[in-house]
């Protein structure tokens, strides 16, 4: 391993050093070869997806030799236009964007408010209440799913947007994650503001929030991604196609156009695109967020 190279040999002949350098080249190339092989395996299904999405209707079932499946040779862009007219794809897109944005905003706002109280304020029953929050984190969603459905049905909210948005907003996880972050800030931050007679809301808004960029960004990305991909819950509470978010719409589309592979794959590519764009800009927050989630013990 590379750690060997870090220790400077005290006495070493030229020969031995040469040998070591040769060993390092071998070692590094082996790692690169292994990583490249793995990377090809990772990318191959995406290549297949893009190739299929660009092939002419029905071509998959006739004239594709085995390597042509992986590298596009035909560029039938019309599929990407057709997919918008064959299914209300634009509608699914808008629904998904609206649901995910609303859910994420609600989650980040209510979690950060609650996290501020748990982390920076003192009040009777704080620790007990927080412990209660923590305890619910291990309850599987399957347990609350049925009663929440029953509640929404009672309220007449089945087949509405709020049915897809509201239940996803109030999680213990967001509160917990932000609380951990707020706790790391020094107490002196607020003291000066308190002496000046600032209200708690102003302290929260002008001192705590501006310093929490990374934590908020992490929670935002994770919540957004989770909502963007979620299939089961929308499936349960929504039944008219005009309200379908992308995953439900896509599964519905799959049932209708089972043999139009090129359209199915064009739709798949377009579903992945926004996530990929978010990822390119927010990669740092993904990594940080995963590390944070690893600390929760």
């Amino acid at each position: 391993m590379s750690y060997q190279d870090e220790i400077e040999p005290v006495v070493r002949s030229k020969e031995a050093r040469k040998q070591r350098q040769w060993g390092k080249v071998m070692h590094d190339s082996l790692i690169y070869i292994g990583l490249c092989l793995g990377a090809v395996t990772m990318i191959a299904p995406f290549m297949w997806m893009i190739t299929t999405s660009l092939s002419a209707p029905g071509a998959i079932f006739s004239d594709r030799s085995w390597w042509k499946e992986w590298i596009p040779t035909v560029f039938y862009w019309k599929n990407y236009i057709d997919v918008w007219t064959v299914v209300p794809f634009g509608r699914f897109y808008l629904n998904s964007v609206f649901i995910s944005v609303a859910l994420t905003a609600g989650q980040v706002i209510t979690s950060s408010l609650a996290a501020y109280a748990f982390a920076r304020l003192e009040f009777p029953g704080r620790d007990k209440l927080f412990f209660g929050y923590l305890g619910t984190m291990m309850i599987p969603g399957a347990v609350t799913m049925i009663p929440v459905f029953v509640l929404l049905r009672f309220l007449g909210w089945i087949d509405t947007y709020q049915a897809m948005i509201l239940p996803g907003i109030f999680t213990a996880y967001g509160t917990f994650m932000l609380r951990q972050f707020f706790l790391t800030m020094p107490k002196e931050l607020e003291d000066a503001a308190k002496i000046d007679g600032c209200s708690y809301l102003r302290i929260f808004w002008h001192i705590i929030i501006p310093l929490s960029g990374p934590a908020l960004a992490t929670l935002t990305t994770f919540t957004f991604m989770g909502s963007w991909m979620s299939l089961m819950w929308p499936l349960i509470v929504v039944n008219s196609a005009s309200k379908f978010p992308l995953p439900v719409g896509l599964s519905y589309f799959q049932g209708l156009h089972n043999t139009n592979w090129e359209l199915l794959m064009a739709a798949t590519v377009m579903m992945m695109l926004p996530i990929l764009i978010v990822f390119v800009f927010a990669q740092r927050f993904f990594v940080e967020g995963i590390k944070l989630s690893g600390i929760k013990g």
Partner: protein, 302 residues
């Protein structure tokens, strides 16, 4: 004195105001539903008639339900992906930790399947597993042509023997470069350097160093990933079953959660579904409890 008291009251009031939105939603969508769900598990309820109290009957039926046992077995079988994927993640993390050029690009590539997870990936793999025109069997047939043989790949998702391995392969592909790899990478970077130096003074080679230093040092991470994957594994399998196999063939890819969903929202056996949810919860609770009991709750894992 009075002033201090007033400040304290003010602070407490402010705190409750900050908590209110989250707490209210939390009560409505988590705390109360948990209690209701437990009550429901003791009833028979078809959603359109009033629920009927049946005591423990749902649970007794559940334990005699052959399908429930089959689906529990499926759920555990599919967890074979966990150790395979974890081993892969660790190897990848070690490779990416070598501080060579271009590692960020590799990390991004390996993370791609995790990013795109969900319905889109499952739709893609369903087509790739198509026995006639899918990527896998075309490859196998193409390989056969090269060798002058007539090779025919399996019927993947429609074959009771191959459906589960097919899902496991997909799941390993999807998760190997994901969050577990990143957790391992963080853990590897946290191993103190002097431990390696000491091992080197003792003349340890790379493999010896791995088993004597790296492995014990990152074992809390391994443990954490293992437990979290186990908890996740018991609740997994809905999206795959819904998008790719419909739970078939012959129920061979139906997992506990898919059975629960069908009971509740397809067949409207609400009470029975609630009972399944509570059995699932008990298993997860047991795992969490054992972890807490044997390893303490305050281990910091990274």
């Amino acid at each position: 004195m009075k002033r201090v008291l007033k400040d304290k009251t003010k602070e407490a009031l402010a705190a409750y105001a900050f908590l209110a939105p989250n707490l209210l939603g939390f009560f409505v969508f988590t705390s109360i539903p948990v209690v209701v769900s437990l009550l429901l598990s003791f009833t028979e309820w078809g959603l359109f008639t009033p629920p009927k109290w049946v005591g423990l009957r749902n649970f007794i039926e559940l334990f005699q339900d052959k399908r429930f046992w089959q689906y529990s077995f499926n759920t555990v079988y599919l967890m074979a992906a966990i150790p395979i994927s974890m081993t892969g993640s660790l190897l990848l993390a070690i490779a990416l930790n070598q501080k060579l050029k271009g590692m960020v690009i590799f990390r991004t590539i390996y993370y791609l399947p995790t990013i795109c997870a969900g319905v889109a990936i499952f739709m893609l793999w369903r087509l790739m597993y198509n026995p006639e025109f899918g990527a896998f069997n075309t490859m196998i047939a193409g390989l056969g042509d090269l060798l002058g043989l007539k090779l025919q790949g399996p019927n993947w998702l429609t074959d009771t023997l191959w459906a589960k391995p097919a899902l496991i392969i997909m799941s390993v592909w999807q998760s190997v470069g994901g969050q577990n790899m990143i957790l391992y990478l963080a853990a590897l970077q946290g191993v103190p350097r002097d431990l390696y130096d000491a091992a080197e003074v003792d003349g340890a080679n790379a493999i010896q160093k791995f088993w004597a230093v790296t492995w014990p040092q990152i074992s809390p991470t391994t443990f954490f990933i293992g437990i979290m994957s186990l908890i996740g594994g018991f609740q997994a399998g809905f999206d795959q079953a819904y998008m790719m196999t419909g739970g078939g063939p012959n129920g061979s890819t139906t997992t506990i959660i898919y059975y629960l969903y069908n009971n509740a929202f397809v067949w409207y056996h609400m009470g029975y579904a609630a009972a399944i949810a509570w059995v699932l919860f008990s298993v997860i609770f047991l795992i969490t409890f054992l972890k807490w009991k044997f390893f303490g709750k305050n281990i910091h894992y990274t």
